[in-house]
């Protein structure tokens, strides 16, 4: 076996009381590609930030070539031969390729940049990857894939021994992705260790020799790819353990369709989506991360554009076809990222709770908001949802995650829509808060609302759903009943068509 380049031993890190990494250990050998898998928030980025010198670990050791090292800054990491190719491509688009490559250390003469020298060196750096772009090309005129190559070329300038790729394919086309994989294979031949962070499982089988699966700050499994069957990795990523039985519930499912989506398409994202959402049911939208679940919710609610498709609302015996932009009149949308999209962070609990229902709070005398009614309504749902606040005027930014999520839910309860879309409604919440949210979802369904829930945590999803739709790469691949077992769901999500065809 080749040389052991990197060992991380028992790395721990705490953020504001939350244990982000609970003693993580990883080995990586020269000339191999190691996948770091796991859902969002599992601790992948934290671990790599520690390796890259961005943040210090609370405890644990890093060994490079069996020598213990401490990495205090990104610059030190580079000196140790560790470089990062970031997910968000960090480049200056108005400058040329050569200028971007040498931006941190321009070779100068009398204070002037040696333009010809950097251009020549840029050509060489790109040639190492087997590509030629004129070095004076502006980065803004390159495609995302080409920009990434420049980024990799920049990473290679310091002759690194370890290169970390953080979700490198997220903005690439299929062809660019294959080219990237070729580049990675080429790097491995030269003895470089690759650490490949992703949540797209099928990529890993193409280019990685070894994998570690992180969940909730812990390594839940790992080893050589050839010893890890696809299904097992899915099981580890989603945290579905067969010994943990979920109490079987009776399906609440009714046959009265409220929302009907037919032939919804969005080029490259969603393909021929057909959904019927019934009154009083919780429909679980299941699929791996990147299968198009969130994109589907956003397309139906008009937050992202669609190419074709019909959306119909059946209400009080009448059917009407509506534009995606108008679905919000019927649908209460709880997005996966409450801080970025769900809340008005600098505003008060009361203002956030009233937000979707301001037209419903008008005074009877004139078209102004009735302050007393607004307070009463907000108080009602604060109590009903058991939200812990110091007062209605508390700024939501200062609330805990669970309470913030409840504020978002409370906002829609005030509006009282007939349909709810909930994207990862329990993400990042503690056990108690999760249970409460679960209870609320159940109560809403009992009261007759139709609820579409997305969750990456299979058991979470199974604890609320009456029926499942399984998604894979922008398509709905299966519809399964309430009684479906965990194994079955995992199998359905894992049987990626393109994966078989590979």
């Amino acid at each position: 076996m080749s040389e052991l380049t990197l060992r991380l031993v028992d790395i721990q890190k705490k953020f504001a009381g939350v244990q982000a990494l609970k003693g993580v250990s990883i080995d990586a050998y020269a000339g191999e590609s190691v996948a770091l898998l796991g859902p969002n928030g599992a601790g992948k980025s934290t671990l790599m930030n520690i390796l890259g010198g961005v943040i210090p670990p609370d405890s644990g050791n890093i060994f490079l070539h069996d020598q213990p090292v401490e990495i205090h800054s990104p610059l030190e990491a580079v000196r140790h031969g560790i470089t990062f190719v970031h997910q968000e491509i960090a480049m200056l688009p108005t400058l040329t390729i050569a200028e971007n490559l040498f931006i941190t250390s321009f070779p100068t003469q009398l204070g002037f940049i040696k333009t010809r020298a950097i251009n020549d060196q840029a050509v060489q750096a790109m040639a190492r990857l087997g590509f030629y772009f004129p070095p004076t090309t502006k980065v803004s005129s390159l495609s995302p894939g080409d920009r990434q190559l420049v980024e990799i070329a920049r990473a290679l300038l310091s002759n690194p021994k370890i290169i970390i790729f953080d979700e490198p394919t997220s903005s690439l086309t299929e062809r660019e992705k294959l080219r990237l994989f070729e580049v990675i294979q080429g790097l491995k031949v030269t003895g470089v260790t690759i650490i490949y962070i992703t949540h797209l499982l099928y990529e890993v089988f193409d280019i990685c020799e070894r994998a570690y699966i992180l969940r909730d700050g812990e390594i839940v499994g790992g080893g050589l790819m050839k010893d890890l069957p696809y299904q097992k990795i899915v099981q580890m990523m989603t945290g579905a353990r067969s010994e943990q039985a979920v109490a079987t519930r009776k399906s609440r499912q009714t046959s009265e369709t409220i929302l009907q989506v037919t032939g919804l398409n969005r080029s490259g994202v969603l393909e021929d989506i057909n959904i019927e959402l019934h009154k009083g049911e919780v429909l679980g939208l299941w699929g791996l991360l990147g299968s198009g679940r969130t994109e589907l919710l956003r397309a139906i609610t008009g937050l992202d554009p669609i190419d074709s498709g019909v959306i119909q609302i059946h209400e009080k015996g009448t059917t009407r076809k509506i534009r995606p932009a108008d679905t919000k009149k019927w649908v209460g949308m709880i997005t996966e990222n409450r801080r970025e999209e769900g809340l008005l962070l600098p505003q008060s609990v009361k203002d956030n709770m009233s937000l979707a229902n301001l037209t419903g709070l008008l005074s009877r005398l004139w078209p102004l908001i009735d302050g007393r009614r607004e307070v009463k309504e907000a108080e009602k749902y604060v109590q009903r949802l058991n939200i812990a606040i110091s007062g209605l005027n508390q700024v939501v930014a200062t609330l805990s995650g669970g309470n913030q999520q409840k504020v978002v839910i409370g906002r829609w309860l005030e509006r009282n829509p007939i349909i709810y879309f909930m994207d990862e409604p329990m993400r990042g919440l503690d056990v108690g808060a999760k249970a409460e949210i679960r209870k609320i979802i159940g109560e809403l369904a009992e009261a007759g609302a139709a609820i579409l829930v997305v969750s990456s945590e299979l058991e979470e999803l199974m604890s609320v759903s009456d029926r499942y739709l399984v998604m894979d790469r922008g398509r709905i691949v299966a519809e399964l009943p309430c009684e479906t077992t965990k194994e079955e769901l995992i199998a359905r999500a894992a049987e990626a068509k393109a994966f078989e065809a590979r």
Binding site: V18, A20, N40, K328, G342, L343, Q347, L358, R415
Partner: protein, 350 residues
């Protein structure tokens, strides 16, 4: 994984201290305002007179009204550089209408020699005022459409609109001031320039307007939507708020205030021209809002604050004038004042 961005642990003592400091910093500009007023009242013989004080307020009233419009735009995270230009175009349109419909006066007898299209002064005046308001709102609507629906950048859109309106106003007036014949249009002028128990009507209008603006911004759903859209457009959109319409509405309100400003200014100057709003007007308007605590990043600020900011700016101009400070020095002092206030506000948050 996102790093935690907030520190929730903050003990209550610190919390309280923070609140008091913020409150103090909010009140400070107005304390300064009162102190300046008192010092000037002692130092200069004319400052404290009722006449001068109403003068200051009268001068500030147009600024206050347009600053309220600017506040709406700033709250949704935009900016309106075209406000004074829109005011000029509205004024020109309205005054041209007055001229065209008033007829002419016989200089000897004082009787209307040639009857205009609309003989009744009141009808004429109200129509002229309506024209000014409609022109202002229409121009604001174009700004709002470009920003809200076409997703163009507010700075550029309103800069272009400034040129368009100034160009149109200059073209319509052929570069000269269009006078209002007071004898033929007493009603139009008196509508804003008369006094009600010694208090000039335009001050009353400004106060009423600011009160209405306060109610609309704080208590109507449109106002709350403005704040929501300015705080986080994505959240607002997901919550079902028609954000494009809301953004457009903000610019229409700004255009409306330019139209109201045009009515008062034309009546006060008895004329209209492309230069009616005065030099640096847009800077005064934005300064008033910012000094009044309106955030240029959107999401916060009150119309009352902006109006008080306008009074403060007006007071600085007036007091410098009283102290016989030259115009160029006045500009510099104004700039320093604005910087100082903005610095104080920057202390308020974090």
């Amino acid at each position: 994984m996102a790093l935690p961005t907030q520190k929730t642990k903050r003990n209550s003592f610190f919390d309280k201290k923070w609140l008091n400091k913020n409150l103090l910093l909010t009140v400070l500009p107005y304390v300064v305002l009162v102190i300046i007023a008192i010092v000037l009242a002692i130092k200069t013989p004319h400052f404290g007179t009722f006449r001068n004080l109403t003068n200051v307020l009268e001068q500030s009233s147009i600024l206050a009204i347009t600053a309220v419009g600017m506040t709406c735009v700033l709250v949704v995270g935009g900016i309106d550089l075209s406000s004074p230009a829109i005011m000029a175009l509205s004024a020109v349109a309205g005054v041209l209408f007055l001229r065209a419909t008033s007829g002419t006066l016989n200089p000897v007898t004082g009787a209307v020699a040639v009857a205009g299209a609309i003989p009744n002064q009141a009808v004429r005046a109200i129509l002229a005022a309506l024209i000014m308001i409609v022109v202002g709102m229409a121009m604001g609507a174009i700004n709002g459409f470009a920003v809200g629906y076409l997703k163009m950048i507010p700075f550029v859109v309103t800069l272009a609109m400034q040129f368009i309106c100034l160009g149109a106003a200059t073209w319509l007036t052929e570069s000269v001031g269009i006078p209002i014949d007071y004898n033929l249009n007493k009603f139009f002028v008196d509508m804003t320039q008369k006094r009600f128990d010694y208090v000039p009507l335009d001050i009353l209008y400004a106060v009423v307007f600011v009160v209405i603006a306060y109610l609309v911004m704080r208590r109507s759903y449109l106002g709350r939507w403005l704040y929501a859209a300015g705080t986080n457009l994505k959240t607002a959109r997901i919550s079902g708020i028609p954000t494009q319409k809301v953004v457009m509405a903000a610019y229409i309100v700004s255009g409306l205030t330019a139209g109201i400003g045009a009515i008062i200014t034309a009546a006060r100057l008895l004329s209209a021209s492309a230069l009616i709003a005065g030099e640096n007007a847009v800077l005064d308007i934005i300064s008033s809002a910012v000094v009044g605590g309106v955030s240029i990043y959107g999401g916060s600020g009150s119309p009352v604050g902006a109006a008080l900011g306008a009074v403060l700016i007006g007071l600085i101009s007036n007091s410098m004038n009283m102290l016989r400070v030259s115009y160029d020095l006045t500009l510099m002092i104004k700039g320093v004042f604005i910087l100082a206030f903005i610095y104080i506000y920057s202390l308020r948050k974090k």
